[in-house]
Structure formats: C-alpha cells, structure tokens
C-alpha cells in the first residue's frame, strides 16, 4: 500500500477519532454504559487517593518505629494502641504496612518511570518512522518480551544482587516491551492522520510532532496501560519480596510480611491479613482508575 495516498486514508479513520463523535457520542455512551462505568472512575480515583495518601503519610510519620521490637506486645491482636496488631517480634503492623507500601510505591513508580519512559521513547520512534529502525528495535523488544518478566527480573537480580533499587531497575527493564508495543501501535495509527501531516507541513520539527502533537492523542491508551503496568509492578515486587529476592530486611515490605506471617497464621492472622488487604485495595483502586480513564476518555476502545 502506498503511504502517499493521503486522500484515500481519511475516510475510515474518522470513526477511530477520540473526539469525532462529539456530544452525541458522549451522551450515547453514558446511556449505554449505565452507572457502572462512571462508578469505575470515581471509585477508583477515591480509593487510589486514599491509599496513596496513606502511603505518602507513611513517608513522614508512622505511629511506631518500624524496626523497634517490643517483647511485651508479641502477636497482639488489633487494638487502639496497635490498630493492625503486632507481629511475632512485637513490631507495629500498621507502621510496617505503611513503610512497606512506601517501598512498594517507590519501586512500582520507578518501574513505570523506567519501563514507561524507555518504552514510550522506543514506541514513538519505531511507530512514527517505521522502516529498518522499527524492525531492529522491535526485534530486540521481542527478545525481551519472550522472557516472562519475573524470570527476566530474576536473571537481572542474580547478576546485580538484590535490593530496592536493583529490583526497580530489573522490573523497569522487564516492563519496557509491553509499553513500547502499545505506544508503537498508537503512533502508527496517528502518524497517518491529517493533523500530523498538517504539522509537518507548517515546518514543525519531528520531536515536537512526536511529543507535542501526537502524544496527547494517545494519552487514554497510555494512561490506562501505565496503571496496569503499575499494578503489575506492585504485584511482582510483592512476589519477589515474598520469595526473598526483593526488598531486604530489616526494611519492611508487604511481600516479605506475607511470607513471614505464614508461620503465625493461626496465632496472629492480622499479620497476614492487613498487608494483603492493603495490597489488594491499592491494586483495586489503581486498576479501576485505569478502567475508568479508558471508559471516560478512550472512546470505548
């Protein structure tokens, strides 16, 4: 197919356009989607804000020192003094959950910064230019994508050693392919659009076209894939810490708390329930927010 036949390509595209439907489409969507769709966004946003708020609070203030062991309060059930109870060493579970979630947030955030950043860059360049650059970079991408991301992260960690920032780097690299693929597809879709041709025509430089003209148009797809990526990073970090290759003690970590509390499931279930619940709510909130973003701004894709 000749890429030059600009006239011929326009017609089919209109329906893909995010905003082409205008007001009719928006109202139609509302009617068809019922309450659940907007509910996704609102509920997700509220839950995310609460969970992130708690985590950010944990950066500045926790009720107890996360590493202080108190022999007198071993495995105490939740009470006013220790609202999530205490663990087998008498440490406050609430404080540890907050601080563990803090490292989780830093790792997941760093992961999507690294994976998303490099992914967006490669995706944009390959999708927009195509040709041998696309072929070359995408084959490297395929190789990366061929490994399950946990496995790839495991390999990287076994080479570099474990630790908070190494986990972040390992997961970040493992997450590049999925972002690159999504962004590449979106850029391929957009590069043939007339507004891109118009921009080229008035002499806009290529980087500006990529990141000022096209990038905002792929935000719905990008944001929702970033939220999914964030959730995957949270889960994988927890999984790796659970296996003992993630965050190292004495730093608190939700995954490690889950694995340590296994032994005390009968005598102190709160040690396992609260970290788990915190993880679930964080993932649920961000996941619903991502869905909501797609529903609201993604034109039903």
């Amino acid at each position: 197919m000749s890429r030059l036949s600009i006239n011929g390509m326009k017609k089919g595209k209109t329906s893909n356009n995010l905003f082409s439907g205008g007001p009719q489409k928006l109202s139609g969507q509302k009617a068809a989607g019922g309450g659940l769709r907007s509910y996704n966004f609102t509920f997700g946003a509220v839950l995310t804000v609460i969970m992130l708020g708690l985590i950010v609070l944990g950066f500045f203030w926790v009720p107890y020192d996360t590493e202080a062991m108190q022999g007198s309060v071993k495995l105490n059930a939740p009470s006013l003094a220790h609202i999530f109870g205490t663990d087998q060493f008498g440490r406050d579970v609430f404080s540890r959950v907050l601080s563990g979630a803090g490292s989780t947030l830093v790792i997941a955030g760093g992961t999507i910064l690294i994976g998303g950043g490099i992914g967006i860059l490669t995706g944009a360049v390959t999708g927009y230019f195509g040709g041998w650059l696309d072929e070359g970079l995408m084959r490297i991408n395929d190789v990366l994508a061929a490994f399950p991301s946990v496995l790839l992260a495991l390999v990287i960690i076994s080479i570099w050693g474990s630790g908070k920032y190494k986990v972040m780097l390992a997961l970040g690299i493992a997450f590049i392919p999925s972002f690159a693929r999504i962004v590449r597809g979106e850029f391929m879709r957009c590069r043939e659009e007339d507004y891109v041709t118009s921009a080229r025509l008035i002499g806009v430089s290529t980087p500006r076209i990529l990141f000022v003209h096209i990038l905002p148009n792929i935000l719905p797809a990008l944001l929702s894939s970033l939220t999914i990526g964030f959730n995957n990073a949270v889960i994988q970090e927890a999984g790796m810490s659970y296996l003992g290759i993630g965050v190292q003690p004495p730093d608190a970590s939700l995954g490690r708390m889950l694995s340590e509390s296994q032994t005390y499931l009968a005598s102190g279930p709160w040690c396992a329930v609260f970290p788990g619940l915190f993880l679930v709510l964080l993932i649920l909130g961000v996941g619903m927010l991502g869905e909501g973003i797609l529903d609201r701004f993604g034109g039903g894709r």
Binding site: S2, R3, L4, I6, N7, K10, K11, K13, T14, N17, L18, F19, S20, G21, G22, G131, E193, D194, Y195, T197, S198, A199, R200, L201, I202, G203, V204, S205, H213, P216, N217, L219
Partner: protein, 289 residues
Amino acid sequence: MLKVENLSIHFEERGASQEVVRDVSFDIQDGEILGIVGESGSGKTMTALTIAGLLKNNAILDSGSIRLDGVNLLSLSEKEMRSIQGKDISMIFQEPMTALNPTMRIGKQVEEALILHTDLSKEERRKKVIKALEDVELTQPEKLCRKYPYELSGGMRQRVMIAAAIVCRPKLLIADEPTTALDVGTQESILKLLKKLNKKYNMGILFISHNLRVVNELCSRVLVMKDGRVLEEGQAVQIFEHPQTEYTKELIAAIPTRTKGSRFYELLKARASEEGFADSDVKAGEENA
C-alpha cells in the same frame, strides 16, 4: 513566483515501480489562482505534496525542479525546507474533520506556525491569531481560541484550517480538494473566502480538484492532468469553451447541468418518461444541478 519544470516522480515499493508524475511543468504568478483538475490517481495531489515538501520515502524524484522565487526547493535540506513550510508555502486538506489535532485548542493550532517562524511575543502572536480567525470570517475569535475541534462544525474547521495556513501570510497556498468533504452551501462560502484572501493578501493559490465546476468558478488558469501528465493548460474560459483534447471534453460533459442536450439532462428526461411524467415537466435551466 512558483515555477515547476519537468517534474517526474515514481514510486518504488518492493521492487515494483510506478510512475505517478511525468514531465509536469507549470508556473504560478504572484496572486494567481491556478487550478489543477483530473481524476483520482492523475498525479495532482502528488504534485502538490512534492511542492509542499512532503514526498514520502518510497517516492523517488527522477528529474525536474521546483523554484519558489528562484530558489530550487528540491535542493534544500530538510531543515531549510522546514523554514519555508508554513511560512512561504502552506497547504489545506480535504478532510476538515481529521486535519485538526483533537487534543489541541484552536488558538494553539493556529498559533503553531507563528511560534515556529516568527520571533513575535506572546501578545503579538495572540493578536495575529485573532486577526487570522477574523480573516476567515469566524465570529467571536477570542472565544473560539479556547475551543477544541470537536466543538466545531465541518465548515468552521475548514475555516480554522485556512486560518492556520494563512497566519504567516504565505506566498503560496496549496488547497487540495478543500471543498470536497463539505456540503454545497459551505463549499460556496469557502470558495468565496479563498477568492477574498487571494485578493486581499495577493496570495497565490494552487487549487486542486476533480470538480470542474468549482475550478471554473475560482481559477483564472487551469491545468488538466491525466495519468501523471499535463494534458492541457490555459485560461479557464478558454479551456471550458474550447477544450482541445477529448478527455477535457468528456470531463466538461460530465458536469451535471440541466442545459438542453447535456448528458445529465437526457438522463433526467429518460427517468421522467420512465416514471410517467410529461417531457414538459423536465425544465431546461442555466443553473447547475
């Protein structure tokens, strides 16, 4: 002002090659409106894209030159070309619905060329944007600047496109079927607008269309293209009244009119008799259908 000489272009894809423009030459004087007519695939859009510097990688230039005020555009580097695009040459497209960026405000899109090609302050740029929007006869330009394309009708978007194209006062505006996607009423007003801008700013226009009627209305000179070649060139009046080639005659005959003896008139008559109307019910008129 613009002089195209012996332009030949072919496509090459996976070993197969196809000629799309063959030995095309023409020129446009300052403030002149030149029309190019031809069917789909006649090379008219390719010629325009080449002038605008938008040749794709798989299109190969065989020969020719395109001179804008003596400067050969084809010999310029990409960067030099970028400084001409949008400033001396701009282009508007067929589909106003997709030619504006859905995520950018109108004001910003019109302003873009000014940011790239001038050193004006923000305030001066804003004034020029407002002026351009007024030039294309859009009301309440200040309010419009803050709107997004989806809030506008097709005709309004085409006007915004034109505003963005003329904001730097280009010497040449390339209009690639700018009215095809619009309804007839809006078509008329856009054509009038182009004519007005052409007079007001002495801006040359290269007008591409497959619609002879529209070309006749707007252009002073016409180029007829087929299969990448120029078949005929001349004053609009001359081409319409004394077409030299069979192809042009056919093109003219294909314009639906209700003048007695025209193909469209005969069709109408045949339909009428089929449906049982009397011949006298089909009125011959001067007006185009």
